[in-house]
Symmetry: C2
Subunit: 347 residues, 2 copies
DNA sequence: CGAAATCACTAACGCGCGTTAGTGACGTCA
DNA sequence: TGACGTCACTAACGCGCGTTAGTGATTTCG
């Protein structure tokens, strides 16, 4: 049975009706072969294309609104340009995270890559990998076999934020989280507070992140000769501020009492403020509060919240640098400092 | 020149070293042809495969950790399973939006589709379409030629939230936004407020959305015989609540004075509260405030904010139903009501 | 003036898959 | 016994692309 797949020049006419234009359509329209089209459109070096031909191809492509098929391209090239941000429930979307993702998309685009997020919550949805085949994946908690499976399936860079050996994870926990904890502790210490509390996040999905933060806070306290911080959960369900009031009471009734608290995030900080109000108390006089991750709500609180902010743009740049380094086989560069105290009136 | 691309059974051995397993590897491993592997793995109907063979193939696939290549599959099938949420700067990420996206991903997965987001801010990044080739796209503002270009390039369902003719857009503005506006107005009216204000969002990116909301509020007011709401911007830049204080003063100095305000979102509502405090005033006694889009910060405000909440799960379900309908060539079903007043203490 | 190099292209492979058109072996029915 | 199905498969096409190995025509060079 004869086999002549292509190069069967059609009599006349332009593109096949209906379907999207292919490079073959462009070739036909320009009166050249598909190879030539490919050479022109990709600027393949080692090929000499005279200007008139080049223009003919370019014009034909424009006329047909030709856009190369991503599938075919990655299939033939062997790799795609997609970086998957496999967004886990442990990192719920906040305005801060949204900004990070936005910056990531922009910075990855700069590097010739396309960032894309896929959130999952109920169950890790491995099908994305099948549906997308990314070059790189940034995720929260990937089981070892999942990582090897990805590698095996063509993912060239895998970043797992809970893997001990992952250089990006090391930066996240070693520099970013430690930076938050250290600045919180030092700020409270500089205001004279030596017995500190930790307000856990109200969102149950943040349990793991909370544990990491607590560890960092303990280290920071120890480094300054302070006792370990007293962690208290503030359940955020339901209405009213009673649970937060209980938390505040627990801190104040200790001997010696907790006089300054580090909040996991803005919502935890707001909860502490609400708890204080319930007792007719206020920050910073009765209890100093410092939060983490800036947000409009923190600025508009009563009193305006002193926060440790994380620079999301710098964070994004570092992540992109890490991924591109991994893709090029270079070592991941050292991570920058990204934390900074925003002074307001709750300490 | 001979052309025999495949079916060249290799002597012995298992998969080619290194690279990811292909269906040809599975075929070799199971001692059958690639076609048989495809039949088994896809449960192709009209093909009879005896159980022992089926098992051999299944086991071989498992042993090699075979996962089909998305590119090849969509290339051959002619369409992908990816729905692109082309997230615009006009819809900045908030906790609410994050929840919506999460629900969308889950609901689309249920429908056999894979939802993926790509945020852009600086410039619309059309390259995603080249890098992804989705079946469907949900976007904010697509120029007409972009829509036709997408259609032309194989996107089978395009939803543009600013297109007059788009049934989903009609629902968003006709049901969702109108629902928010109507409930806000009616709630304030039932508390006796007849001269209303509108607190524009502090985020400049929300300018367009703000305009739409204002239109809906005007309609709602007109429907109840009220004068048009007095819109005031509350710039959120910088620290302090002075701008918000000016806004509050502007409302109160009117004759007759504005006594109830509809805030665009939670941040706008918080800003109004901050402005009131600046004057030594408070809601609801001096000015009633009702916000939109619930959030922890709204619950923890002083006083806790009365809000109009939007059910994001129901919203997600409707969007998924709309997309699947479009894909199947069915008409988009009528959209549900998704708004509801959350009673607290600012009205 | 003939060999070599360059130019301007084209044919065809292979990426990995879904799918259709077979193709022998075996069983069934008249 | 032969026509006819069904069974259990396999060969091969085509999806759209990047890329390599050519191939005639022209130019360059000794």
């Amino acid at each position: 049975m004869g086999h002549k797949t292509e190069e069967v020049r059609m009599a006349g006419g332009t593109a096949r009706s209906g379907r999207r234009a292919t490079s073959a359509d462009v070739a036909r329209e320009a009166g050249v072969s598909r190879s030539t089209v490919s050479f022109v459109l990709n600027g393949t070096k080692g090929q000499t294309i005279p200007e008139p031909t080049r223009q003919r191809v370019l014009e034909a492509a424009a006329r047909l609104r030709y856009a190369p098929s991503a599938e075919a391209r990655t299939l033939s090239r062997g790799r795609s340009d997609v970086v998957l941000l496999y967004q886990p429930p442990q990192l719920p979307m906040t305005a801060d995270m949204g900004a990070l993702v936005e910056f990531l998309a922009a910075e990855f685009a700069e590097a010739g890559l396309t960032a894309v997020t896929h959130p999952w919550s109920r169950k890790p949805d491995g099908d994305v990998l099948t549906a997308i085949t990314p070059v790189a994946v940034i995720a929260w908690d990937l089981p070892d076999d999942a990582v090897t499976a990805m590698r095996h399936n063509g993912v060239r860079a895998v970043i797992s934020l809970t893997a001990e050996s992952d250089p990006v994870a090391q930066w996240i926990w070693g520099t970013r989280e430690n930076g938050i904890a250290r600045l919180q502790v030092e700020r409270l210490l500089s205001a004279g507070h030596r017995r500190l509390g930790y307000a856990r996040p109200h969102d149950a999905r943040l349990a793991e992140a909370s544990e990491m933060r607590l560890k960092a806070l303990r280290q920071a306290c120890a480094a300054h000769g302070l006792p370990a911080p007293v962690a208290v959960s503030i359940p955020g369900d339901g209405e009213g501020a009673r649970p937060a009031a209980d938390a505040v009471a627990a801190w104040r009734e200790l001997v010696p009492a907790v006089t300054g608290v580090c909040a996991h995030d803005d919502v935890a900080a707001l909860s502490v403020l609400a708890g204080l109000r319930e007792h007719g108390l206020a920050a910073p006089a009765d209890l100093a509060v410092i939060g983490a991750g800036d947000s409009p709500a923190a600025r508009l609180a009563v009193p305006p919240l002193t926060m440790v902010a994380v620079d999301m743009l710098v964070t994004a740049r570092h992540l992109v640098a890490a991924v591109t380094s991994l893709l090029d086989g270079r070592p991941v560069p050292a991570g920058p400092e990204v934390t900074q105290v925003i002074e307001r009136h709750s300490v």
